[in-house]
Assembly symmetry: C2
Homo-oligomer: 201 residues x 2
């Protein structure tokens, strides 16, 4: 764990605003439960078979979620700056994770450990605000997840890719195409064909 600079704390505070706004006293207490970690490229943040002890907030960089199936990696999701990142099920339930999360480039994350989160929820000064904070984050990701889920049920891979062209610039700009293909639920070869099909039309 590294030392926190004022600039990092401010960026974090700003990034949390959609979910929680702290007054000065609360912020001082809150930040005592926070740590900063720098990840090298390819360094793991979560690992299959291990309990994910942290939820991270990406200050700089990006991470990739992936599963390993039949020895091959399948990329599931990404988090960029100002996103949270965690193997949520593992973090929330204490079960071992079924996926990996790795940094795709040098990445800075603010970390909240499960232990510290539970302590904040038991701390009368923060509990109420943290309950709400957690509710709003969970709701936010539930909505994202639902949207993406319904795209798998109601859309073809080509339609999902076209939608990504409209709304997923970050992913398309910053991720290699074979990760994007996995994210869309298809193989890299198939995405390459879809791209060709679209250009030809």
């Amino acid at each position: 764990m590294d030392a926190l600079t004022q600039a990092q704390l401010e960026a974090f505070r700003k990034g949390l605003e959609p979910y929680a706004v702290f007054n000065e006293a609360e912020w001082i207490v809150f930040t005592q439960y926070i740590s900063l970690q720098n990840f090298k490229k390819k360094q793991l943040f979560a690992e299959e078979g291990k309990v994910c002890q942290y939820v991270g907030f990406v200050l700089k960089g990006s991470v990739r979620y992936y599963h390993i199936k039949d020895g091959a990696e399948i990329t599931n999701y990404f988090s960029f700056e100002n996103d949270f990142a965690s193997s949520y099920k593992s973090f929330l339930t204490g079960d071992t994770a079924v996926n990996y999360i790795e940094a795709l480039e040098p990445t800075q994350m603010m970390l909240i450990s499960k232990k510290n989160l539970d302590q904040m929820l038991a701390n009368p000064m923060l509990a109420y605000k943290i309950e709400r904070f957690g509710r709003l984050i969970a709701e936010h990701y539930l909505i994202c997840c639902e949207d993406r889920l319904s795209s798998f049920v109601t859309q073809t891979p080509e339609e999902r890719y076209l939608k990504l062209l409209e709304t997923g610039r970050d992913i398309l700009k910053r991720m290699p195409q074979h990760y994007v293909a996995n994210y869309l639920g298809i193989t890299p070869v198939s995405l390459s064909r879809i791209r060709k099909r679209i250009l030809t039309v």
Copy 2:
């Protein structure tokens, strides 16, 4: 809206226990924000283009979530007894819904309106408990949603069906096969073929 019986209230209280346990005083106040509605078969609970004003808790019966695409219905999800049901994104954000929810049989739901939920969150006697209640529900459905989402990325339709055979007895027992096919992200014809393939092996 219909009158609430003591038995229904008790069933509701019991069903909420994983998320919130109320003392007597809280329960009396909480239940003032609740209503009961009976749905006939095929009656709509949520509708595309309209804001979903309620989150429901299924006491009896079942509901089906579906989209309409090119004039055809595509079934997305189900809720059974002791499940919540809502077009969550619409309910939480106030945007119009993109899907329909209909009762598949005579169905009883406890309803919490968005307006009443907001009032509870503003009521000091309930606010803290309701924040937590909301957090735990959102977390629960986030985990469900994430699991299902990763099944679309990492598994074939056949593998998803085999998993449903293990863990989705409710859906398989109570839902017609063409709804199940949609739920798995494939056509009814394709599911029929998968079933044949499995039997033959």
